[in-house]
Subunit: 190 residues, 2 copies
DNA sequence: ACCTGAACACCGTTCAAGT
DNA sequence: ACCTGAACACCGTTCAAGT
């Protein structure tokens, strides 16, 4: 056998990686997507360099925490597309997305940033999700349920903006569902 | 004369204060409302402690930079109220506000934060402006031009959210006017 | 009365030295 | 092959010492 399997990572490296992710989930839940990476390393009981070795950028860490969610939402869009009327499918997907978008403080900002930053590790998984949602939008527009001058980026930006509002203050967070329905209602043709 | 005038600040203190504001305007224009205060002091050629003496918090400095703008917008609302039909007056005011809201990166976030934080120095001047705008909203609703389930805070949050979107990426910034019109259009009764 | 900058407690990021 | 933590370049904030 001249072509061998690539060696599996060393056991200690695997343990460290898992430990970082476990702690990162907690710390990001507490502090948001801008959480202190030093704090993550400290609480995981590993050296700061080890964290950077496994996750060279903050986005690489976030991507690992969030890609499942993005993949699930992309699959959800595909499922809704084939089982629901266009307007329903879009409304339901946005509602599902919006619910998760407030999982972490700063998440709306992190997601919107990936649109522009193609070097971000979050770019690909987030783009796939956006494209799946874009098809739902297109269908809803073809059915006359959404005005024609809205594109997928507009919709994504607006939904994240409502998520951002909810991040800013508790009293605004309480209005989140209402603000979202105002915005979505407003996208219907007059 | 037993009750004397309060003494005018020392000449050097006055000069320092003016110099801080001058430099802060530049640095905030460059770096946004989260600009480094250390950088402001450095570029103003004054000690860091002097900056903190004149402006104990970041918001106190921002308030001094921004209160003129808020006062002008409050006055603008009053003027529009007495000269234009309700729907026009509101649309024009929001357009004026939105234009200024992108003057500095981070400004939308700073403004929205003052809603909740009553200890912020920006709270009072921003509240007065919001109340003036709230009257325009009420008039527009009474005239049937805006749906009834929108309050002043909703409108303020949404307009700032669109400003925030524009902060996130150049490509989104180019869609700002379109996104704003989408949102405002959407607030009309269906 | 006011100014100054060192001091303290934090960051993110890199990298030489270790195992 | 991987881990570690010191080192560097930044923050915000406070305060003892100066003029």
């Amino acid at each position: 056998m001249t072509d061998e399997e690539p060696r599996a990572p060393r056991a200690d490296a695997q343990r460290n990686r898992a430990r970082i992710l476990e702690v990162a989930r907690t710390v990001v839940a507490e502090q948001g997507t801008q959480a202190s990476l030093r704090d993550v390393a400290r609480r995981a009981g590993i050296g700061l360099g080890t964290l950077y070795r496994h996750f060279p950028t903050r986005d690489e860490l976030l991507e690992t925490l969030l890609s499942d969610r993005f993949d699930r939402l992309a699959a959800r869009a595909a499922a809704l597309e084939s089982t629901r009327p266009p307007a329903d499918a879009l409304a339901q997907w946005v509602s599902d997305f919006a619910e998760g978008a407030t999982a972490y403080r700063g998440l709306a900002a992190s997601m919107l940033a990936t649109i522009e930053d193609e070097t971000s590790s979050l770019h690909a998984s987030c783009l796939a999700m956006r494209q799946a949602a874009g098809r739902l939008l297109g269908n809803a527009q073809a059915a006359g349920a959404v005005r024609a001058d809205v594109d997928g980026t507009d919709l994504f930006a607006l939904v994240n903006a409502v998520g951002w509002i909810a991040d800013q203050a508790p009293s605004l967070s309480a209005r989140r569902a209402h603000l979202l329905s105002l915005v979505l209602d407003g996208l219907k043709p007059h």
